[in-house]
Amino acid sequence: MSAERREPTASGSGKATEPREANGHREIVAGRGRKIRWTLGLLRPYRTRIFFMVLAVLVSTGAALAPPYLAGRAIDAGIQTGDISALNLSIALFVIAVIVNAVTSWLQTWLVGWVGIRVLQDLREQVFKHIQRMSIGFFNRNRPGALISRMTNDIEALNQLISDGIVTLFANLLTLFGVVAIMLLLDWRLALVTFAVLPLLLVTSLVFRKYSAGAFRETRERIALITAHLQETLSGVRVVRSFGQEDRHIDHMTELNEANRQANMATVYLNASYFPATELLTAVGTSAILLFGGWQAIEGNIMIGVVVSFVGYLQLFFDPIQQLSQLYATYQQGMAALDKIFTLLDTEAEIVDGPEAIDPPRLEGRITFDDLSFTYEDPEVEAESGEPVRPAPAEPRWAVRDIDFEIAPGETVALVGSTGAGKSTLAKLITRFHDPQEGRIMIDGRPLPDYRQRPLRSQMGIVPQEGFLFSGSIAENIAFGRPDASLEEIAAAADAVGASPFIERLSDGLETEVGERGVQLSSGQRQLVAFARVILAEPRILILDEATSAVDTRTEKVIERALDEVLKGRTAVVIAHRLSTIRRADRIIVLERGHIAETGSHDELIESGGLYAGLYSSWTDSSAG
C-alpha cells in the first residue's frame, strides 16, 4: 500500500495566487473552489481504491433498496395471489439481496475507512511538514499547543465528516434521484409542488451556514486554547508546584473550559434548530401535497390513486433530504476545522530557499557581517490569526544595529556583553533563524540566502542558550545530528565534553532515558549532552551560546581542553560569561545595546581601557566575591 502513497503538495494548488482578505468569511468563500481542488489533490493518489469504494457504495445502496421491494413483491405477487412459487422466488431473491448488501457494506465500510483514514493521515503529515518549514519567528508568535491542536483536534474533527459523510452523501443522493424520477413520472404537477419546499430548505441552510460558520470556528479556537494551556502547564509543572499555584491554574482552566462549553453550546443551539427545522419543512411539504392533491382529486383533475401513492413516496423523498441536511451540519463543522488548517497552511514561511540557492560546498568558515541591523519587531509579519502584531513603530527597537565585522576561517571569536546586548541574536542570525532587515551576513563570501538553509545548517553546529533534549536515551540525544554515529563515536564525544564520568554513574550509562526535555538529568548534565551532540556533528562553524553556563568550573576546564582540539580548523563563535573561556578566543567582540562597542584580543582590550576593561575588573572583583 505504500507504493500507492504519494504526497500531494498544498503549494501545487497555487496558494500564492489567491490574495489574502482581511475579512475571514470572504476569504473562506473565495477559497472554497481552491479547497475542493486541493482536497481532490489529496484524494488523487488513491483513485483506484476510490473507484472501488464508489462502486461498493452504489451496489450496497442498490442492494439495500431491494429487500423492501422484494418483500412487497412477496406479499403482492405471492401471498395475495396465492402463487407459492412467486413467493418462494421473492424470498430467495430477498435473501440474496441481503447477502449482497452485507458483503458490499463490508467492502464499502472498509474502503471508505481506509481512504478516509489515509487521507486524514496525509493531511496530518502535510500540516506537520508545513509547521516544520516555518521560520523561528513563527514559533515565537504561536503557542505550541495551538499548533498541536491543528494536528490533533482539528484532524479528529474531520474524522466524522469523512467516515460518515461519503456514504451518507452517495446513498442519499442516489435514493433522492430515484425518487424524484418516480415522482415526476407519476405526476409532474404534484412533483413540482413538492419541490417547492426545496428553495425554503436552501434558505434555511444558507441561514444556518451564515450563523454557524463563526460558531464552529470559535469551537476550534477554544479547544486550541485549552490545548495550549494544558501544554504550557504541563511543561511548566515544576514552577507550578514550587510556587504552590495549582489552584490558580485550575481556575484558569475552568475559565477556558467554560468558554469552550459556551462556544460549543452556541453550535448546539444552531444544530438544534436547523435539523428540526428541516423536519418541519417536510411536514409542510406533505401538507401542501395533501391540500393541493386532495383538492385536485376532489375536483376530479387527478386520480385519487395517484395522490395516495404520491403521498407514499413523500417520505422516501424527504428522508434523504433530512439525512443530507444533517450531513450539511457535519460538513460545516468539518469545514471550520479545515479552515483553521488552511489558514495555517497558507501562512508562508518568512525564510524560504530561493530557486537559485545552492548546496554549500564544504565551508571554509569565513563569516562576514555587512552593516547588519535586525529587529524582532517586524511590522510586516502577521500572527497566525491574520492580524498585524502591532502598528509599525517609527523607529524599531533594534536588537542588533550596524554590525560590521568579519570572522576569518578557523578563528575563534568571543561575543561579550551584558544580557540583552544582542549576543544570542547574532548567533541566531548566523544560523539564519531570522533574516536581518538591513545589511547581510555572508559565509565564504556569499550572502546567506544564496545557500539552501538545511544543507547550510548541517555544516553549522549551535548549542542554543535554551538547551533542549528529546525524550530518548542519552546516546540518541548525542547522535541527534548524526544518527549514523557508532557507539564509540558517541562515547568519544561524551568524553570530550567531560560527560563520561556522570554517564558512567547512571544506571544504564549511555542508554539511560533522559525523560521529556531531559528532566531526568541535572541542568549541567543536560548542557553537557547538548554539547556532546554538537561536537559529534563535526560542524564547520561552531556556535556556543552560553553552552556551559550551568556546568561547574572543573568540568568546564575539561571542556576547554577538549575545545582546543575540536576548534582546530573550525570557525567558532563563543558566547560566555566566564573569563577563562573568553580569554582563549582569538578575538573578542564587545556588544553593547546591539552595537559593537569594541573588538580586539584580550590584551589589546585591557590595554585600551574601554568597556571590556571595565567588565574585566568587575569580573575579577566578582570572581573574588
Binding site: 423492501p68 406479499i75 401471498i79 424470498i91 441481503v98 448488501n101 457494506s105 475507512g113 483514514i117 493521515q121 503529515e125 509547521i131 516544520q132 518549514r133 498541536i148 490533533t152 490545548t227 494544558l230 515544576r238 510556587f243 473550559n257 462549553r261 453550546m265 443551539y269 435539523f275 428540526p276 423536519e279 411536514a283 406533505t286 376532489i298 395516495v308 502591532r390 556583553g417 544580557t419 538553509q453 538545511r454 545548517r457 542554543p464 533542549f468 545530528g481 525523560g515 521529556e516 528532566v519 549541567g524 548534565q525 553537557l528 552560553e546 553556563s549 550551568a550 556546568v551 561547574d552 568550573t553 572543573r554 568540568t555 576546564k557 573569563l579 568587575s618 566578582s622 573574588a624 566575591g625
Partner: protein, 585 residues
C-alpha cells in the same frame, strides 16, 4: 463493565436533564408516529372527498409537526447541554487530578500523552454520553414496543421473527469484545502521535539548528503510520460486524415471509394480520442499525474512559497527612536528617545520608559538580519530592506533617531553567501572589535588576513573553524569574543557579538587590561562580550526592582542592577574600 458504570456516574449530576431529554425524545417519537397516521387519515378524507375532514387533518399534521419541532429543539438543546457538561466535568476532574499528582509523575509521562487525554479522548466520551446513549435508548424502546405489538398480533410469528435474536446478541458481544481493545490502542496511538508532535514543535529550534527536519518528520510519520495501521485494524472489525448486525434481522424477516406466507396460503393466517405484523417488522430495521452504531460509539467511549481512569486512578504519591498543619510561625530553619533520595527504584542515589542544619535567617551556598545533587536537595525543601529515607523539616516540623500549599507558599524557588509562562511580564512576576500591586511588582523587578529592560520594552510590564519566555534574552528571563521569587515574600528563598546567564556587571548590580531581599530569610544559593556563592555566609560542598564539607568560602578554599577547582579559585582568575560585608548587610 466497571468503566461503563463509572462513565455513567458522570451523568448522575445531570440525571434530571438527561431524563428530561429522554422524555422529550420519546414524545417527539410519538409525534413522528402520529404524523403518518394523520397522513393516512387525510388520504382517507381525500378518498371520501371529505374536504372539511381533509382540512382538519392537514391542520393536525401541521400542529403535530410544530409540536415535534419544539420537542426536538428542546431535546437537542438539553442533550447538548448534558454532553457538554459531562465533557466540562471530566476535563476539570482530569486537570485537577493532574494538578494533584507529584512532580515525579510528570518526569516520566510525556506532555503530549497527557494532553491527548484531556482533549481527543474526552470527545468520544462526550459524543457517547450526550448522543449515543439517547439514540440507544430510543432505538431499544422502539424495538421493545414493536416486539410487544408483534407478540400481541401473533406470538408464533413473533418467535420466528426473533429467531436470529440470540445470534445478534452474540455477534454484538463479539463485536464489543474485539473492538474495544482495538479502539483503546487507537487512542493510545493518537496520544503517542500527540506527544511526538508536541516534542517536535517545542524542540523546533534544535531541530532546525541541526537541520534534522527530515528525521523529525520521519519519526512523526512513524507515529502516523502506526496510528493508521491500528485505525485500519479497528475499521476492519467494524466493517465485518456492522453489516452483519444489520443483516441478521433480515433473516428473521425472510423467515417470517416464508413461514407466514405459507400459512396465509394454507389459510391458517389472516392476510390483514400478516400485513400488520410485517409493517412492524419493517420498523425494526432502522433502530437496529442505530443500536449497532451506538454500540460502536459506546466502545470508543469506554476505550477512552479506560485511558482517562488510568490517570484518574493514579493516586497522588505525595500528599499531606489528614492531620497536617499549616506552616507554623518561625524564621525558616531547615534541617535534613539522614536524608537519601532516589528518583526511581532502579536509579542511583541522587542524595545520600544528608545531615544538614541550617539556622533560621542564614545564607547557605551549595557547591558541587554538575549532578552532585544540589538541585535535588533544594527540591526536597519545597517538598517537590519526598526523600526515600530520612526526614526534612522546617522550623522543627517534618514536611510531611505540613499542608503542602502552605509549605510552598512559604518558599520561593528560582529553578535553574527559569521557566516563564506565555503571559505578560507583570503576571509572570506576580505569579505567586496574584494580588500584588503594580508598585510591588515594580519593586521586585527593581531588586532583580529587571526594571530597566522591562521599561524599555514597547509595552513595558504588559509585554507578553512568548512560549517559556523565549522572546527574552537568557539573562532577562532569569531576572524576571528572580523578581517572581522575590515578590513571593517567602520565608525561605532558593536560588538555583539563578544568575548563570548574567554577565559580571549585571550580576554585580543584582547582588545588592538580592542581599536586600535575602535579609531575614533563610536562603540557599546554588552556583558555580564565586561571585554567586559569596552571597552566602557559609558553603556546603557536595559530591556524588553527599555533603563532603562545610565552612566559609575562605575555609573551604583553604582546605578543599575540589572546592578550589569548582569555583575556579585555584585557576587563572585572581582571588580575594570577601570584603563586601556591607553589601550584604
Amino acid at each position: 463493565m466497571p468503566t461503563f458504570r463509572r462513565l455513567l456516574g458522570f451523568l448522575r449530576p445531570h440525571r434530571r436533564l438527561l431524563w428530561g431529554s429522554m422524555v422529550f425524545a420519546w414524545m417527539a417519537m410519538g409525534m413522528t408516529v402520529l404524523i403518518p397516521w394523520l397522513v393516512g387519515q387525510a388520504v382517507n378524507a381525500v378518498q371520501d372527498s371529505d374536504q372539511t375532514q381533509l382540512f382538519w387533518m392537514v391542520g393536525a399534521i401541521l400542529v403535530a409537526a410544530v409540536l415535534r419541532l419544539v420537542l426536538t429543539v428542546i431535546r437537542r438543546i438539553v442533550a447538548g447541554r448534558v454532553s457538554l457538561a459531562v465533557e466540562f466535568d471530566l476535563r476539570q476532574e482530569v486537570y485537577a487530578h493532574l494538578m494533584s499528582l507529584e512532580l515525579g509523575f510528570f518526569d516520566r509521562n510525556q506532555t503530549g500523552q497527557l494532553m491527548s487525554r484531556a482533549t481527543v479522548d474526552l470527545q468520544s466520551i462526550r459524543f457517547f454520553l450526550g448522543y449515543g446513549l439517547i439514540f440507544f435508548s430510543q432505538s431499544i424502546l422502539t424495538v421493545l414496543l414493536a416486539g410487544v405489538v408483534m407478540f400481541v398480533i401473533n406470538p408464533w410469528l413473533a418467535l420466528i421473527a426473533l429467531a436470529p435474536a440470540p445470534l445478534i446478541v452474540i455477534t454484538a458481544l463479539r463485536y464489543t469484545r474485539q473492538s474495544r481493545p482495538a479502539m483503546q490502542e487507537v487512542a493510545q496511538r493518537v496520544a503517542e502521535l500527540t506527544a511526538q508532535a508536541e516534542e517536535s514543535v517545542a524542540g523546533i529550534r534544535v531541530v532546525k539548528a541541526f537541520a534534522r527536519e527530515d528525521h523529525q518528520f520521519e519519526r512523526f510519520q512513524g507515529a502516523v503510520d502506526r496510528l493508521f495501521d491500528q485505525s485500519i485494524r479497528s475499521t476492519r472489525i467494524q466493517a465485518f460486524f456492522t453489516p452483519l448486525i444489520g443483516a441478521l434481522p433480515q433473516i428473521g424477516t425472510a423467515l417470517v415471509l416464508l413461514v407466514g406466507g405459507h400459512e396465509v396460503l394454507n389459510g391458517s393466517l389472516d392476510l390483514g394480520q400478516f400485513t400488520a405484523f410485517y409493517t412492524y417488522m419493517l420498523m425494526l430495521a432502522g433502530p437496529l442499525r442505530t443500536v449497532g452504531m451506538a454500540l460502536g460509539m459506546g466502545q470508543r467511549a469506554i476505550a477512552a474512559g479506560n485511558r482517562l481512569f488510568e490517570v484518574l486512578d493514579r493516586e497522588p504519591r505525595l500528599t499531606s497527612r489528614p492531620d497536617a498543619i499549616p506552616l507554623p510561625e518561625g524564621g525558616g530553619a531547615v534541617s535534613f536528617d539522614s536524608v537519601s533520595l532516589r528518583y526511581g527504584p532502579e536509579a542511583p542515589e541522587a542524595l545520600l545520608d544528608i545531615d544538614l542544619d541550617v539556622p533560621a535567617g542564614s545564607r547557605l551556598a551549595l557547591v558541587g559538580p554538575s549532578g552532585s545533587g544540589k538541585t535535588s536537595l533544594a527540591a526536597l525543601i519545597a517538598r517537590l519530592y519526598d526523600p526515600t529515607e530520612g526526614e526534612v523539616s522546617i522550623d522543627g516540623t517534618d514536611l510531611r506533617d505540613l499542608e503542602i500549599p502552605s509549605l510552598r507558599h512559604g518558599i520561593a524557588y528560582v529553578s535553574d531553567d527559569s521557566f516563564l509562562f506565555s503571559d505578560t511580564i507583570a503576571n509572570n512576576i506576580s505569579y505567586a501572589r496574584a494580588d500584588a500591586t503594580p508598585g510591588e511588582i515594580e519593586r521586585a523587578a527593581r531588586l532583580a535588576q529587571a526594571s530597566e529592560f522591562i521599561e524599555a520594552l514597547p509595552d513595558g510590564y504588559e509585554t507578553v513573553v512568548g512560549e517559556r519566555g523565549l522572546t527574552l534574552s537568557g539573562g532577562q528571563r532569569q531576572r524576571v524569574a528572580i523578581a517572581r521569587a522575590l515578590l513571593a515574600n517567602p520565608r525561605i528563598l532558593i536560588l538555583d543557579d539563578a544568575t548563570s546567564s548574567l554577565d559580571a556587571t549585571t550580576e554585580q548590580q543584582i547582588r545588592a538587590g538580592l542581599a536586600e531581599a535575602m535579609a531575614g530569610r533563610t536562603t540557599f544559593v546554588i552556583g558555580h561562580r564565586l561571585s554567586t556563592i559569596s552571597l552566602a555566609d557559609e558553603c556546603v560542598l557536595m559530591d556524588e550526592g553527599r555533603i563532603i564539607d562545610r565552612g566559609t568560602i575562605a575555609e573551604l578554599t583553604d582546605r578543599s582542592s575540589l572546592f578550589r577547582e569548582l569555583t575556579g579559585g585555584s585557576g587563572d582568575e585572581p582571588l580575594f577574600v570577601p570584603e563586601d560585608e556591607e553589601v550584604l548587610a
